[in-house]
Amino acid sequence: MNPDDDAAYSLEVFARISGVETETILHYQELGLLRPLPDSGDHFDDEALRTLRRIEHLRDTCGVNETGIRLILDLLDELDRLRAAQ
């Protein structure tokens, strides 16, 4: 069963479940690739986890740099929007 809805993870928990270092997460946040939940300070949700996994995949497996990651994430978002609007 999936956890309770609207899960909000602190930076430490977020780092643990994603397996990504806190510094790296903060770096992505500074770059604007990851956004914490509004009004939460530094809590992240499942949507952010999905984004983080995509960033790591693009960087680690595909060897994409940060500029490329931003571009690809934007394109994937656009694709999602178009599919949802269909």
Partner: protein, 363 residues
């Protein structure tokens, strides 16, 4: 032009004997443990998975050249009849309702409908379709219990197979390095009643192991939280692609698709309802009872209301998370004119025409 002439014939060809009867496993779209005849791995060049063509026109009972308005009307009528809340045989109604919804989602959208008509034209083999031309995936997925048929998932959802590849993808397998499995994504059909109150759904995911080619099915429960909005993704940890070398499994993300409802539509947590009213109700005002997703509300239509005007009932939409807050309920007034009038009514309209200084065309 040639296509058009052939349409009536194709229409019959789509249907295989007994094709849409209840109990046909390939069409049993809501079954939690749906059996899939073949799951394959395209990298190993196995025969393509076959899905059965669904005759959405027959499901809605409309001709192939039906107008968008006809389709909308047919959907509303059937959706009212088979709505799980009103039907006596709830289980059968639910299956039917899902089928109608799916047909409406495809035929009610001009782009999807065109694609569907093209698919039908290309269909040659008895009940079998080539899989759509997507890139080869490490795993092939099959969902059960999401409320969508295999046919829909393969051609219209676009979601079930775009799971992000795992870390091990493209690297030599069988080594000692541990890799986390990739995330898998799919769609889940959620009725507005479920979105209102929340529910628990039984979902099955069948995957073929790329090394052995053997299919494995996992069945698990997914909690649909109250107030879940259209397009929201629900994360199910550990139900994605299996890891390799002892790595953990990926996650499954299910994207929520609100089922079309005959009376309501949604935008975020707000619910919309079109209310048909008589001309004199718009002019003189009226007190009416309006259905919502949880009981009826009394609504005062103010005198001098216009067609298309919106009235808002605060806090009667979908719940917003756990805060106890709720979206709003919006009523869109739709003035209906009587199609037939008695002699007496006619006399009164004529009198109104003679007396009224109302000019609908300002110029």
């Amino acid at each position: 032009m040639r296509q058009k002439e052939e349409q009536p014939h194709r229409g019959r060809d789509f249907r295989r004997p007994g094709g849409f009867a209840n109990g046909n496993p390939a069409l049993d779209i809501g079954a939690p443990h749906r059996q899939i005849s073949s799951v394959f791995n395209r990298e190993r060049a196995r025969p393509p998975m076959s899905v059965e063509f669904k005759d959405y026109y027959a499901i809605l009972g409309v001709p192939r050249d039906a107008s968008a308005e006809d389709i909308k009307k047919a959907f509303r009528k059937l959706a009212r009849k088979h709505h799980p809340d009103v039907a006596r045989d709830k289980k059968a109604a639910e299956e039917k309702f899902k089928e109608i919804n799916e047909a409406n989602e495809v035929l009610g959208d001009p782009v999807k409908r065109a694609k569907y008509d093209r698919l039908g034209a290309d269909w040659q083999h008895e009940g079998e379709f080539p899989p759509p031309g997507r890139g080869a995936a490490a795993h092939e997925f099959n969902f059960g219990g999401t409320g969508f048929s295999d046919f829909f998932e393969q051609y219209f959802s676009g979601a079930s197979r775009y799971g992000f590849p795992g870390e091990a993808h493209g690297r030599p397998r069988g080594g000692t390095q541990r890799f986390r499995g990739g995330d898998v994504e799919g769609d889940i059909l959620v009725t507005l009643e479920e979105a209102m109150h929340g529910s628990v759904r039984s979902i099955s995911l069948q995957m073929a192991d790329p090394q052995t080619g053997r299919a494995e099915t996992h069945t698990f429960q997914v909690r649909i939280p109250p107030g879940v909005t259209n397009g929201k993704r629900i994360r199910v940890p550990g139900q994605g692609e299996p890891g390799s070398g002892g790595g953990e499994a990926g996650d499954l993300y299910l994207r929520v698709r609100h089922a079309a409802h005959p009376d309501f539509s949604t935008q975020g947590a707000d619910v919309f309802h079109e209310l048909d009213i008589a001309p004199w109700e718009a002019v003189l005002g009226a007190d009416v009872s309006v259905p919502t997703l949880d009981g009826t509300v009394k609504l005062r239509i103010p005198p001098g209301s216009e067609n298309g005007q919106q009235l808002r009932v605060r806090g009667r939409g979908l719940p917003k998370g756990k805060s106890g807050e709720r979206g709003d309920f919006h009523v869109i007034l739709t003035v209906q004119t009587p199609a037939h009038s008695t002699d007496e009514e006619r006399t009164l309209w004529e009198k109104l025409r003679a007396v009224s200084r109302f000019t609908p065309r300002s110029a």
